[in-house]
Symmetry: C2
Subunit: 216 residues, 2 copies
Amino acid sequence: MKVLKIPEPTVVRLSLYSRFLNQANDKGMDIISSDEIGVAVGIPSAQVRKDLSYFGEFGIRGVGYRVKDLCEQVDKLLCVNQPWPVVIIGAGHLGKAMATYKGLLDRGFEVVALFDTDSDAIASSASSEEVSDNLPIYPLRELERVVQEKKIKMGIIAVPAESAQSIAEALIQTGVASIINFAPVVLNVPEHVEIRNIDLTVNLEVLSFNLGMRSS
Amino acid sequence: MKVLKIPEPTVVRLSLYSRFLNQANDKGMDIISSDEIGVAVGIPSAQVRKDLSYFGEFGIRGVGYRVKDLCEQVDKLLCVNQPWPVVIIGAGHLGKAMATYKGLLDRGFEVVALFDTDSDAIASSASSEEVSDNLPIYPLRELERVVQEKKIKMGIIAVPAESAQSIAEALIQTGVASIINFAPVVLNVPEHVEIRNIDLTVNLEVLSFNLGMRSS
DNA sequence: AAGTGTGAATCACTTCACAGCC
DNA sequence: GGCTGTGAAGTGATTCACACTT
């Protein structure tokens, strides 16, 4: 039952809608218009309606959307109505920052394990280093066991550029097929694996490019 | 001297080209083809040539590009042939992770100061906490002074969602007009300010959406 | 022969504008 | 009257394919 190809920008916006709708729902709002949603997330109302219309008719003409219903529908589309266990590879500053970040859990993503190469973060600690409550740092050799026991589908790569490709391969080996990559490298992975890169320096360079454009 | 509107995806790719070309140059490569660049960054060669062609003719027909020349040209376009001082607001795990991240300096971005609200990271330390060598954590009230003294144009927001909007306003107040925002909120800012959002949960939700699509 | 540079064609996404319903 | 849903139009980005240069 493939509906039809959904534009990626639409999916990104759905996530923004979801966050806002959950907040609106918590505040007890009952009805909301595409215009209000648009203002909240900085997007034209026609775009909001078009995005939603890919998936069905969720609103009431002349009225708007029931916040609770729309919220549930959008969360279901994004599959955030279920918890997602994730692993993080790399227990450096960034890996630990994400492991302790509460915002993930708020959206249903649970970091169930942090990994690092056997030699570094692990060996340097006495025996069982923990980054926070109940979150041990495992050696990489435990990756396969944990991923399979906990049926993990998503991994976050937070290791240096040099090791990112081999870590990606290790993750894929164990069955993880959805990866967020923070390392500043282009990873190559098989067709069926989805990688999303989050690259701070690329973002900074877009800013510096645009600063350069203005002053010329 | 506005050339013509450059597509944003092109600018993002320029950053990838730059990183790769600098590595190729360091390895002593002399000539490179659009196809080799494309393979390295995972993009079709026609796209590489089209991207470069927005800015001029950098190659030699039938031959390819001189690595050193192209590298210099692309770095100049991105304005990464000059150092950029940046500030980070928010000295939590994420802020500290970025402040100590060497990859920024490699690309010419120097974190010159980390800020936090007066009450938190600062007050809790004895007197002058440092996150690493020579990088003190300043109280927010010092922001304006530092930004203006060091002529800072870029800021990175790494504070909780609740305070991100007011921090953005504070940055803009001091003259910063290019901002990377890690907080999971849509900031509204004046026309002339450029915000780039880096949102981990949005990225994870795109992955969960796509996982949901496959199994249906 | 090999690889760039680029108009033209295609594909993708956004915006418009209005019919349809409450 | 007000707001949704959506084809149609418009805009933007990618891919094609080939003339051009070394």
